[in-house]
């Protein structure tokens, strides 16, 4: 049984997801939120989902920053898997998604069975983050400051916040703030479908 919570600001999409997830054997829809602070945390504490389907474009904030906070605030073993659900799953999304600790990125245009497959793969522990080209990664890193680049390198190589903090002689809380800030910087670069 995979217990799934949906965080997306579009009611129609949440309703659709609830219907198809409930109809699929092995998946359970445990709750939904529009992504606002007031409802996200109570939902997650109450339902303790195995996996969160998280919209990338949230009206009051950034899905990836939320993902980063969810991963930090719900400690192991309660940490849910996070599948970022985006209307434009572009290559530029891979790097920030990995930095935010997301387990996968899927496009909203997927058919139900492809979405279920992605959910099952991620639940099993696989990562579906795509493989952006060197140019894309380079141009994204180019936007960051030297120090931030070093931090991104450490975190992407699997270092925890504490290890990264030690390597860069920072406080662990500084690492978290820096990561959120970097996610904000990178967000400006992710195409929204036209530009």
């Amino acid at each position: 049984m995979i217990r799934i919570a949906v965080i997306d600001d579009h009611p129609a999409l949440r309703a659709g997801l609830r219907t198809v997830i409930d109809a699929e054997p092995g998946l359970v829809f445990v709750g939904e939120s529009a992504g606002d602070e007031e409802s996200v945390w109570p939902l997650l504490r109450r339902t303790e989902p195995d996996l969160i389907l998280l919209d990338y474009h949230l009206p009051h904030g950034d899905g990836l920053q939320l993902c980063h906070r969810i991963k930090r605030q719900l400690p192991v073993p309660k940490t849910p898997k996070v599948l970022v659900y985006s209307a434009y799953a572009s290559p530029e999304l891979s790097l920030p998604a990995a930095l935010a600790g997301a387990d996968g990125v899927v496009d909203k245009g997927l058919a139900a069975r492809e979405l279920f497959e992605a959910i099952r793969l991620v639940h099993r522990g696989e990562r579906l983050l795509g493989d952006p080209s060197q140019t894309v990664v380079r141009s994204e890193l180019e936007r960051l400051e030297e120090r931030d680049r070093a931090l991104v390198g450490l975190l992407l190589n699997g270092a925890g916040d504490a290890e990264a903090a030690e390597a860069l002689q920072m406080e662990p809380s500084e690492v978290q703030h820096a990561t959120l800030r970097i996610l904000g910087t990178l967000r400006a670069q992710v195409p929204t479908g036209a530009s």
Binding site: A12, E24, R143, P191, T192, G193, A194
Partner: protein
């Protein structure tokens, strides 16, 4: 076509040419009529002068009918010189041809940039003053009937030229401002529509697609084709909407690539800055490809304007067997010695090019000063990665 401020100004005048031209021609006709009247009223009618008044009529006709001639500085100079010739021939600087000469200053006053028009406003009375001194009625002395005559003859040219020049400059600024506002308003409206489509209709489409596609394998065999079909249709509808959204958000605003680039070039030129030419035409392109190509070229233009110290920048669009090749070449100082291929601007262009399957080369020009940016768009360019799963 080269884009300069002068050209914008010319278009401003020629754009609504009819009333302005009608006024100019009417002024000339009137000046000619005044000259004829004054000459005929003289006690001794000089037939040479009567023949000379034909110049007013002929030149008015030329201005009215030949746009190429009326836009040429050479014509303005000849025209003005001819009118001064008529004044000289009349043997008196208080000549009936003075008004005709005044009208010859109108075209340059309106079409030259304001700075040059001001110089003309200063030069015109000096020229007339020297003509009065060295021509008739008494070379070496002015002999005004009253001092007012002299003052009026010398003050009218600067007033006319500076007034016309200033009015045109103000009109031009107002028009540019209005165009800019209109464009901003249109852009905001398009973005709002795009946002609404994206935020509501497209999310519902995704939901419907999910619901229908979840029926796969769960319905009676005779219904399978219908479910499959519906799923495909919904998927296509979402893809169509992506295309429309891209068009709505595209900087091209429905224009062909070369037209949008020409407009961009016009926006970027400044007084004293490099001339930008856009040559060639682009075939119809998928909106995302065109938008990326537009942004790559815009970035290249900005780079050239900012760093190259160029005097001309050439944008060329040519069809190749493989698709479309866009070149941006400047005659500036070329790439710096310490070439930084990872410079942010170049990287951004590279990343854009890659996402539409195009090839981008930035290099110094062979054997010439300057930098050249080449973008090769493949013919059936692939669907940009940004729009696929």
């Amino acid at each position: 076509m080269p884009h300069t401020r002068w050209q914008t100004r010319r278009r401003l005048i020629e754009g609504d040419a009819t009333p302005w031209l009608a006024l100019l021609v009417a002024a000339r006709a009137m000046a000619t009529a005044v000259a004829i009247g004054l000459i005929v009223l003289e006690p001794t009618v000089d037939s040479t002068l009567l023949v000379l008044t034909a110049y007013g009529a002929i030149s008015a006709a030329v201005i009215a009918t030949m746009p190429r001639v009326r836009q040429s500085p050479v014509f303005w100079a000849l025209d003005s010189a001819a009118a001064l010739g008529c004044v000289l021939a009349s043997g008196d600087w208080r000549s009936p041809f003075y008004v005709l000469w005044l009208t010859t200053l109108a075209l340059p006053a309106v079409m030259l940039p304001l700075r040059q028009a001001i110089w003309l406003a200063i030069a015109a009375p000096l020229i007339y003053l020297s003509l009065g001194l060295f021509g008739g009625p008494a070379p070496g002395a002015l002999r005004p009937i009253t001092s007012e005559t002299l003052v009026i003859h010398l003050l009218l040219p600067p007033v006319v030229v500076a007034g016309l020049g200033y009015a045109t400059a103000a009109l031009q600024r107002a028009q540019e401002e209005r165009t800019r506002r209109e464009r901003l308003a249109i852009e905001a409206e398009r973005r709002r529509i795009a946002w609404e489509l994206h935020d509501s209709a497209k999310q519902r489409l995704h939901a419907a697609h999910l619901l229908v596609s979840s029926l796969h394998g769960r319905v009676a065999p005779e219904l399978v084709p219908a479910v499959e079909r519906a799923s495909v249709e919904l998927e296509s509808a979402a893809a169509d909407m992506d295309t429309s959204l891209a068009e709505l958000r595209s900087p091209l605003e429905g224009r062909p690539l070369h037209t949008a680039l020409e407009a961009r070039a016009r926006e970027l030129v400044t007084d004293g800055g490099p001339t930008i030419t856009v040559r060639g035409e682009a075939p119809p392109l998928p909106p995302l490809v065109a938008a990326h190509a537009y942004r790559i070229v815009s970035e290249a233009l900005t780079n050239a304007l900012r760093h190259a110290e160029a005097t001309t920048i050439d944008v060329t669009l040519e069809r190749t067997p493989g698709g479309l090749r866009i070149g941006v070449a400047d005659d500036g100082r070329g790439l710096p010695e310490t070439h930084r291929p990872h410079a942010t601007g170049i990287l951004a262009m590279q990343s854009r090019a890659e996402s539409i399957g195009a090839r981008l080369v930035v290099a110094s020009r062979d054997g010439q000063p300057g930098t050249r940016v080449l973008v090769d768009l493949p013919a059936g360019a692939p669907r940009p990665q940004g729009a696929t799963a």
